[in-house]
């Protein structure tokens, strides 16, 4: 780093790089649309945006390299003054409250910074391949890249902000971009309404978040992390009920953003956006914002517990864990019956985010109960799962994008461009693609395994931790209510194994179900690179785990390599002193059994099968296909009665949540709105119009008094003199 300029300054430039680039793309695109060089060389702005993301990635790597070592507390620093003012409080004026933008760096923001810029870069790369050949958005892609860049800037800014206010500002920027990008194909009514739905649903959460932040401001007199995290509860006691309310309200904001029960309805519909958008915004980054917000509450819980207020905030942890458990279970259930490949992934995202929320809930519960070690472990496990999930889910969405893209292409080829209602995303149209799409199928397999938690692969390490800590809280520390999420998580682990496997086998194994699926082949080079990179990233979960990623991200310890301990810890439930906890040994193997054996095997028996004769899959996945064929031949059973039962129907209708919300809107909100409109028109407008016409007529009357005759004026002067004399006389 250059001398004289602080490191924080360089960090602060990161969100500004895409922010500066986006107008360039927008204006150039508006100008040079349709020009050959614009389309072929600059990829309709994609190349420019990729360059910008590359700069971001380099800057991020430098920052990560700078801060990767031991770091116990976050470092906050103000970069930019925005509004400074005095505030009147009940105990007098506090001077010079500053709402400036600053940088806050600790390992949590460092990790998310890396995740965001890394995935932004890769998905941008992917978009160049995906968007360019898509015939629908002719001459419109510059808009996509511009909005993509604003989103990146919002995400990077949110991760770096050193106070809740700027966090909220960037949060809203992301919300806006999410709206714009979901509605990218705005000529499709379903996309337009999905965009509206997403925006309005998250807005419900945001309102609560805002109220929560206002209460926080009232409590602490500031929204700066430094001030809030370093608060001394002995010297400046706060109203714990109020604080609890604020935290819960903020959590509702997180629920909206991260699509948790009961504000989850927008995420599946958000899949109407282009697939790169689903990969980036609705799987890997933006939906993590809610998790990040909850993770940022952690020091508050620690602080109160340190000050002796043990357990005062424990309820918040329970609520968070409860919401997480319910969502994890519910989303996994709905994912059972989805046939749209992206919808399956959307519900899987919801479910996995819910895991992280549960972990964070347990973590906050431990923190509030004054058990920092367990709390740190739960926090680390949750954030590690966030990391693994972001990598895997980003890849899965890109892989699904690849499938859709090639299906679409093949259909286009066969039907000669005719639209016949063919759904390129429907898994019932696929099958046997493992031979046609070697890289995609490998990536999809690795990603699915990571999500399922197949031992040794990515998500396994973190998911084990989350489930174990939730159980620990429930069993040992008196959090009986936490049994509910703990059990739900365990069941969901098995369900995850089923629906992720179902997706993979329906797509890649068995015989092709349509003619289109037979003609698919992988061709676009832009799509392969991100998939391969992320496959290695996902498989490398074991490296991160053995480097003690969990204690790095939570407690700030430097990385240290110890694979043997991690293995013992994960598979034998052995702690540092070498003592094996039998309860957790059982729990661990129950989880592994449910998720890695029961779920996949049921899926294989229902949806597996060998490829068409003569087709060969790439060796990385051919064993899977063959295994599924064996399982299917041995244990095939008929699930027709179950698939036609009321429960399946309910799941297909998404448990009637959408219908319920529609009903509420129609029966309650719309009449209120109509009434308000009526009041506005008749009441307020009427008063305003009345004032207007009244003052106009008064004006006419008043001006009529100015007759233009000097005689009248003199009379008025005389009257005025009398008035003055009278008034002054009367006063004295």
């Amino acid at each position: 780093m250059a001398s004289g300029v602080s490191v924080e300054f360089w960090v602060a430039t990161i969100p500004f790089v895409p922010l500066i680039t986006f107008p360039i793309i927008l204006f150039l695109g508006q100008y040079f649309n349709g020009k050959g060089w614009w389309r072929d060389i600059l990829k309709e702005g994609g190349a420019i945006s990729l360059m910008s993301m590359g700069i971001v990635l380099i800057l991020t790597s430098m920052v990560v390299a700078q801060f990767i070592g031991e770091m116990h507390n976050g470092q906050g620093r103000d970069i930019l003054d925005w509004i400074t003012f005095d505030v009147l409080r009940s105990d007098g004026f506090t001077n010079g409250v500053n709402l400036g933008f600053g940088i806050y760096i600790d390992h949590i923001s460092l990790m998310l910074l890396f995740v965001a810029s890394f995935l932004c870069f890769l998905i941008n790369w992917f978009s160049i391949g995906y968007m360019n050949t898509d015939k629908i958005n002719d001459n419109r892609n510059h808009r996509f890249y511009a909005e993509f860049l604003i989103f990146c800037s919002g995400m990077l800014g949110m991760v770096l902000a050193d106070n809740f206010l700027w966090l909220f500002i960037f949060w809203e920027i992301m919300g806006l971009c999410s709206y714009l990008l979901i509605g990218f194909y705005y000529e499709r009514p379903s996309a337009a309404s999905a965009a509206k739905k997403a925006f309005l649903t998250t807005r419900v959460g945001d309102v609560f978040l805002m109220i929560g932040l206002i209460i926080m401001w009232n409590i602490y007199g500031s929204l700066d992390f430094d001030i809030i995290f370093g608060w001394n509860y002995f010297e400046n006691p706060v109203d714990m009920t109020l604080l609890k309310t604020a935290l819960i309200l903020m959590f509702i904001g997180a629920v909206g953003k991260s699509a948790q029960f009961p504000l989850h309805v927008w995420l599946p519909d958000a899949m109407e956006g282009p697939t790169p958008v689903s990969a980036l915004i609705h799987a890997a980054t933006m939906v993590n914002a809610g998790l990040y917000l909850v993770a940022r509450m952690f020091p508050i819980f620690m602080g109160t517990a340190d000050s002796g207020l043990i357990g005062d905030l424990a309820d918040v942890g329970i609520i968070i864990a409860m919401i997480g458990g319910i969502t994890a279970f519910m989303a996994a259930g709905i994912a059972f019956v989805q046939n749209d490949i992206k919808k399956v992934l959307a519900y899987s995202t919801m479910s996995q985010l819910a895991y992280i929320f549960t972990g964070l809930g347990a973590c906050l519960w431990f923190a509030s109960k004054g058990k920092p070690e367990l709390a740190y472990f739960a926090l680390g496990a949750s954030l590690f799962h966030l990391f693994n999930h972001a990598m895997a889910k980003g890849m899965l969405f890109m892989a699904s994008g690849s499938v859709i893209h090639e299906m679409h292409h093949a259909h286009h080829h066969i039907s000669h461009g005719e639209h016949d209602g063919f759904d390129a995303q429907d898994m019932t149209n696929m099958g046997g693609l493992a031979s046609k799409l070697p890289i995609t199928s490998t990536a999809m397999a690795a990603g699915s395994m990571s999500i399922i938690g197949i031992p040794l692969i990515g998500g396994f390490w973190s998911k084990e931790g989350i489930i174990a800590k939730t159980w620990k809280a429930a069993i040992y520390d008196g959090g009986y209510l936490l049994f509910i999420p703990a059990i739900l998580l365990l069941i969901s682990a098995g369900m995850t194994g089923f629906y992720m496997s179902r997706m993979w086998f329906m797509t890649f194994a068995g015989k092709p179900k349509t003619k289109v699926a037979e003609h698919v082949h992988e061709e676009t080079p832009w799509i392969k690179f991100p998939l391969v990179t992320l496959t290695f990233m996902t498989l490398g979960g074991i490296v991160f785990a053995s480097l003690h990623f969990i204690s790095w991200v939570s407690e700030g310890h430097a990385f240290h390599y110890d694979l043997v301990y991690e293995m013992k810890h994960a598979f034998l439930a052995m702690d540092k002193d070498g003592i094996i906890d039998s309860t957790f040994l059982i729990l661990t193997w129950a989880t592994i059994g449910l998720s890695s054996l029961v779920g996949p095997i049921v899926a294989m028996s229902l949806y597996g099968g060998n490829l068409k004769d003569g087709q060969k899959a790439i060796p990385t996945v051919s064993w899977l296909v063959r295994l599924s064929g064996i399982v299917r031949n041995r244990w095939q059973f008929n699930n027709k009665s179950l698939a036609e039962s009321g429960l399946a129907e309910a799941l297909r209708r998404r448990l009637y949540f959408d219908d319920f919300y529609d009903w509420i809107c129609l029966k309650i909100i719309v009449p209120i709105g109509l009434g308000a409109a009526l009041f506005d028109k008749k009441g307020i407008d009427g008063v305003i119009k009345g004032i207007e016409s009244g003052s106009q007529s008064t004006s006419t009357w008043v001006r009529k008094l100015t007759t233009g005759s000097a005689r009248d004026y003199i009379m008025m002067v005389a009257l005025g003199s009398l008035l003055l004399v009278g008034l002054i006389w009367g006063m004295a």
Binding site: T706, D712, I714, V717, L724, V725, L727, I728, W729
Partner: protein
């Protein structure tokens, strides 16, 4: 320090005024130099007499008188700044500061005539600036006539009328400075009339136009009667105290234990005279006629300098003479003025709301502004009737400082607005709003400037008009809440209930500002969204454009960088107490 007014020592303090006098003489002489010759008796020698005869080419230029008066005013401002500062001032750069000097008559019992301090100097500066802008704008101003006949053009080329106009401006300026310095009601009256009489003539200066002469006559008659009433009040005061010295009057007023008829009558009638000057309701009726009949630069003068004259008188009478010496007593004029101020601002705004003639609209807006400033003066009385001692002086200084500041910045945006109309008059007579239609497409810079002036008049931040209005309202609220706040009661509702009634003046200002936004912004709508009859730009009158631009820049500048001026105004008002 006291000096004899006719001594050399005394005169050196009057340098700016002497500059004006020499400017008047220069105008007389330079424009009359001609080729007339006198034959020496009994010889054939003819020597040039210089005065009379046919003038030379260089001094028959119609722009010459304007140039002379502009340079006179510039020179006077330079002299004024030269006399600033003094032994007791050390921060001249930041504040307008000068030692107090009193000029008296010689004789056994010297009478104090003029007082030179930061108060009078600041007002002098205001007058000079206003007159400078007006004279610059009328250097090569053409008549408001769409089809000038040949006679008219000849008359224009003949610079004698221009000489008259600028002569009147200079004389009026002389009268204004006297008013600013006077500390004797008699001197004040002489100065007032010296300033007003040329203005009456200037209103009627366009004798060819019916509206102009009619307006001039009406304005003169009404003004004369108001002056007479004021003078009568003054004579009553003289009858009562035996002196017109402000200090003597102040002492007599303070000594008066029970209200007496004579001084109360006197003060009331005196207020009528000043009320006419500031065009307070119901003495304002002739103002719209006069503004509409006069040419725009003269109307600008009416709206700023002439109004300032009235306010100097009011501040002198109300703040020096009649404020009760003891706190806790109520000034006699407080209620009357409070009522008048509310009526004035409301009347002005309501009438402006429906005005279709931009000049009349500006006239009514000027009435409304007078109302705001009157309300601020009432608030000064409120702190006296309240019970806070030390802060009271500060509050009063702040309020009067705000009024002075408002009068000062009015020069930038009020004159600016009239200058835009003046520019429109170079093309066509301005009688209704249609002249402004589509101005933005014809003259974007001028239209934008006009919009800035309108926003400033409406009091939109960050322009100068906002600052002044904000200061006045703050002052009023402070003074009104003084009683309540000393009880350290910070709950909202009881605070409002416990407020002095002057608090409602602040509310009235708020409501009126809201009403006024309508007609100010309407000008913007007309300029930017209406279709113009023509797309041709206005005739090129570079001086006028320069003045408009200067005013616009001043409006913005005083809005964002007002601290030093506000401090100077507060400094000036502190000399009153």
């Amino acid at each position: 320090m006291a000096y004899d007014v006719v001594s050399v020592d005394g005169l050196r303090f009057l340098l700016p005024e002497l500059v004006l006098v020499s400017g008047i003489l220069a105008l007389f002489i330079i424009t009359n130099i001609g080729d007339a010759k006198i034959r020496l008796p009994l010889t054939r020698l003819r020597i040039p007499a210089l005065l009379g005869g046919n003038r030379f080419k260089w001094n028959s230029d119609p722009r010459l008188p304007g140039v002379i008066s502009v340079f006179t005013f510039i020179f006077a401002i330079v002299m004024l700044i030269q006399t600033l500062g003094g032994d007791t001032c050390n921060n001249l750069v930041e504040k307008f500061c000068t030692d107090t000097t009193i000029l008296t008559t010689t004789g056994n019992s010297p009478v104090d005539l003029l007082k030179l301090d930061s108060f009078s100097r600041l007002f002098e500066l205001m007058f000079f600036l206003a007159l400078l802008l007006v004279s610059a704008a009328s250097i090569n101003r053409l008549q408001a006539d769409s089809n000038p006949s040949n006679d008219d053009l000849d008359q224009l080329l003949d610079n004698r009328r221009q000489v008259d106009f600028h002569l009147l401006l200079l004389i009026s300026g002389l009268g204004m400075t006297i008013v600013a310095m006077s500390m004797n009601l008699f001197v004040l009256f002489v100065g007032l009339e010296l300033a007003s009489l040329p203005i009456y003539v200037m209103v009627a200066f366009h004798k060819e136009s019916k509206a102009g002469s009619e307006a001039g006559v009406k304005y003169f008659i009404t003004g004369a009667i108001s002056s007479a009433i004021g003078l009568y009040g003054m004579s009553l005061l003289y009858l009562w105290s035996g002196s017109l010295q402000l200090s003597v009057l102040e002492a007599s007023w303070a000594a008066m234990s029970t209200p007496e008829t004579l001084p109360l009558f006197g003060i009331s009638l005196l207020l009528v005279g000043f009320g006419f000057k500031i065009s307070a309701v119901p003495f304002h009726f002739v103002a719209p006629d006069a503004y509409a009949g006069a040419s725009s630069p003269v109307a600008a003068l009416l709206a700023t300098a002439s109004k300032t004259l009235g306010f100097i008188g009011l501040i002198r009478i109300l703040m020096i003479v009649t404020l009760p010496a003891e706190s806790g007593e109520t000034a006699v004029w407080m209620l009357a003025f409070g009522i008048l101020s509310i009526i004035t601002m409301t009347w002005g705004n309501l009438a402006a709301l429906g005005s279709e003639n931009p000049k009349r609209m500006l006239a009514y807006s000027s009435v409304a502004h007078a109302g705001y400033m009157m309300a601020a003066l009432v608030a000064v009385a409120a702190w006296k009737s309240g019970n806070f001692e030390d802060n009271g002086i500060m509050a009063a200084e702040l309020i009067i400082g705000a009024v002075i500041f408002h009068l000062f910045v009015l020069i930038s945006f009020k004159i600016g607005a009239f200058m835009v109309l003046s520019h429109l008059e170079t093309e066509n007579e301005v009688t209704d709003m249609s002249s402004l239609h589509g101005l933005a497409k014809r003259e974007p810079i001028i239209a934008t400037s006009m919009f800035v002036f309108m926003l400033a008049l409406a009091g939109v931040p960050p322009l100068a008009g906002f600052m002044s209005k904000f200061l006045m309202v703050t002052g009023i609220v402070q003074a009104a809440s003084a009683d309540v706040l000393t009880n350290s009661n910070v709950d909202l509702i009881p605070t409002i209930i416990g407020m002095h009634w002057t608090f409602f003046l602040a509310i009235a200002i708020f409501i009126n500002s809201a009403i006024s936004l309508y007609y100010y912004l309407r000008i913007g709508v007309l300029m930017f969204f209406e279709e113009a009859k023509t797309r041709l730009p206005l005739p090129k009158v570079s001086v006028l454009r320069f003045v408009i631009l200067l005013c616009a820049l001043g409006t913005i500048f005083f809005g964002v960088n007002s601290d030093w001026l506000v401090e100077s105004a507060i400094e000036a008002s502190s000399t009153l107490f």
